[in-house]
Subunit: 271 residues, 4 copies
Amino acid sequence: MKKYLYSREYKKTNTIIDIKGTKIGGKKIIVIAGPCTVDNISYILETAKGIKDSGARFLRGGAFKPRTSPYSFQGLGEKGLQILAKARKETNLPVVSEVMDTKDVKLVEKYVDIIQIGARNMQNFSLLKTVGKIKKPVLLKRGLSATLKEFLMSAEYIMKEGNKNIILCERGIRTFVEYTRNTLDLSIIPVLKKETHLPVIVDPSHATGRKDLIISMSKAAIAAGADGLMIEVHPNPKKAISDKDQTLNLTQFKELMKEIKPVAEAIGRNL
Amino acid sequence: MKKYLYSREYKKTNTIIDIKGTKIGGKKIIVIAGPCTVDNISYILETAKGIKDSGARFLRGGAFKPRTSPYSFQGLGEKGLQILAKARKETNLPVVSEVMDTKDVKLVEKYVDIIQIGARNMQNFSLLKTVGKIKKPVLLKRGLSATLKEFLMSAEYIMKEGNKNIILCERGIRTFVEYTRNTLDLSIIPVLKKETHLPVIVDPSHATGRKDLIISMSKAAIAAGADGLMIEVHPNPKKAISDKDQTLNLTQFKELMKEIKPVAEAIGRNL
Amino acid sequence: MKKYLYSREYKKTNTIIDIKGTKIGGKKIIVIAGPCTVDNISYILETAKGIKDSGARFLRGGAFKPRTSPYSFQGLGEKGLQILAKARKETNLPVVSEVMDTKDVKLVEKYVDIIQIGARNMQNFSLLKTVGKIKKPVLLKRGLSATLKEFLMSAEYIMKEGNKNIILCERGIRTFVEYTRNTLDLSIIPVLKKETHLPVIVDPSHATGRKDLIISMSKAAIAAGADGLMIEVHPNPKKAISDKDQTLNLTQFKELMKEIKPVAEAIGRNL
Amino acid sequence: MKKYLYSREYKKTNTIIDIKGTKIGGKKIIVIAGPCTVDNISYILETAKGIKDSGARFLRGGAFKPRTSPYSFQGLGEKGLQILAKARKETNLPVVSEVMDTKDVKLVEKYVDIIQIGARNMQNFSLLKTVGKIKKPVLLKRGLSATLKEFLMSAEYIMKEGNKNIILCERGIRTFVEYTRNTLDLSIIPVLKKETHLPVIVDPSHATGRKDLIISMSKAAIAAGADGLMIEVHPNPKKAISDKDQTLNLTQFKELMKEIKPVAEAIGRNL
């Protein structure tokens, strides 16, 4: 039987991804935070400084945005990436941003520290193969109706091309449930930890779609064994371009960081 | 607009259910443990003593068993209840058992401390009305495809008849996911905590169907704000009548209790 | 391996249920129609006459109503059954009505020709066993999240007690889909036809929850091989006690009967 | 409020797409058939001739294959397209094939008559925009967990770029159901017919994953109002590279065409 590159059979020890000294998949829980969509330099800088003060390790923000409607704002593109790069320069926070098209991979790679593949593109195999050939780590989000096998095989598509630095991200699945945007499936964390050596993080913002649930589900994700969190934060969520209802402000994010700390310590980890 | 009896609008403070001095819904996390099906007095006694030593507060066991097939063992009936009662006498652990038929409610009430309504009967409205007229607390399990409104309205059916002591139990929902028996929906915990004053517990054994996930998901449930857990335990899971794959032995249960303790403390609670 | 009573291995030929000369499961497609809830004699009589004129073979109407909220109208009970019986006397249409509690089985049996088990009670095993002991045919609705095995095993619960006259009814499953109340799963029809000798009907009213879809889905159900349909009809849907949005008026029902006729004939059956 | 290009508000009359004289979306039901994966010229020619004899109007076959595993055969690429083109030349059947990468759109466009966007790429917005700029009609498959709005908005992405010739294809959604690969959601047909002027076809092969259900579900799809079908056919399904279990042989396909004919006529259409 084939030993898949993602599997524990292939590699027993946890993969720890080192990005300028910050390690993902090790003892430390890492938190990635920032707005859904990059809007302007002043908000991004305010976000970057605020989340860094609270203990976040990465800044996230979308420059190429997958939007259900073609009439919704599609992102600032390269200009958005430049804004992220500026914020990185000022704060030293490495940045994460999504790529949606094979032809943009080179461009995005130039600006970001972690390249993100969104849930809708989890089985965009051409894109997976392309990011498999770059050097930067890839954050791969689970598709809304992806099985375990499909999720891991999408990681395998990337690894097969040579890129072994993949971070898996649970971000909710589509179910009949009506009180959250999607259903956060935390059970996949210990399952992934058993099947693969790759780090696993959780995005409670997209999963729940409700800012009042994010702290609770962040604590739960860490208790379940996640290696990190990805949280939507904006200095003024009402003015955020997208995902207003699930975006924390900087004070709420600080509170989140404070509340997850003892949970991380309770399971022998830290922030 | 109607103020439902379950709602925070009707009653602001948490309902705390006191069963012979053990409080459900207060600061303490309570753990209910025991076999899926009551088999014999020696196993039940061994279970009761073992789980009590590890810190469990209630003994569970099925005497009337809802089984998919009519040819599967349907439970010992009253004899099973008598076995539970004996175990209670020896250990002082109050007991929880399921009722499936309106005509058995009086009988089950006589023997148990908490009467359980199973997931399949969550909308068996006749049964809900009947247990609404008894004095014992009711543990109401969420149906496999129940919405929030349906779940809370089933509690309302019971409360409307006079019985206000209801414990809600999340036990997994039915989704496309294939690596767990059901999908544990922990996001419902903070949602329920917002909507209702009733205590909320989680059953990771039925939700996951996999013993290797139970400790992780128990920690996650507590971190998410659950007031308690319901865990399947048997001294010799291989010999358990039902649910072998998701049943912990006494050593594993002891480990579970040890591991959840710091998580409970991290969020300001204890066991 | 056990040959289940429902299975084709146990009985090769289709079960045809004869109710006062009307056969369910044979060449003829039978249509059951009537209001969700029995309201008053004049509406019920008008309905019965109207649907009979259009070719319906059975009158349906709920006397005991499973309602999500305990504050919703719970049905007229025995009085509702008496109204149905009167309509039967005047029109000779046999009647179908639901039972929800083991203690009401005898009562409902006295008045109706087919006793219905609703979706929420598909795994109310006590109720299944009780209707297994009566002589009247049972219409068993699929639960909202029932697997094939669960559905068939619930039929087996009834058959094991002696009652072999069971009509299976697909009425939609719970999925993420938002434009219909539930998702009508017509693929289960040919699957059931392969696995079991029992007749299979479809309830597009509850499945879709939208009157504008009922004719299309009725045609599809027949084309897929269903032995009959169950349709919600009321002389004045706006005044119906429940399910207004999915209830046809008598003119729309007449149109439905007209439109399904050529489809039935196209597959070698008739009304 | 915006009038979307796909909407009935924007265009009242049905869009009829004319491909070399064959019209999709008109009175005639059109059938597209062929293997999941293009393998070799002799099988493809045999398929093309066989399906044409039975009344199919289009030949389908995958040259670029979206496969869950990177180790599965990924398709013949351009060579596969050349094989399809040869079969078209010999039989005059126009061909349908999938494109998965923006960079291959020009290539695929050169060889095929209808360009297909697969379910996994339904929200690959870069790909949608790219095929929006070509002249050939696009067959857009519904994603496994796509809502109505998401499905229609993906069509809008294409139309907004100028390409108005889009065929929507229901191919099953992901649910808890275990006896079919996916759940064929036929209710979306009348819903789409109400919301949009675009033609709608159904792929029962991928939806059910079971060849024994394809004829029944094809009849149901037509009865529900579909404008066409897409069926997997191979002269020797056991030797097909992919989807063996759901592929009809030429005799079974002939039977399918014979059986759907009277259903089409029953609703006033023809093949």
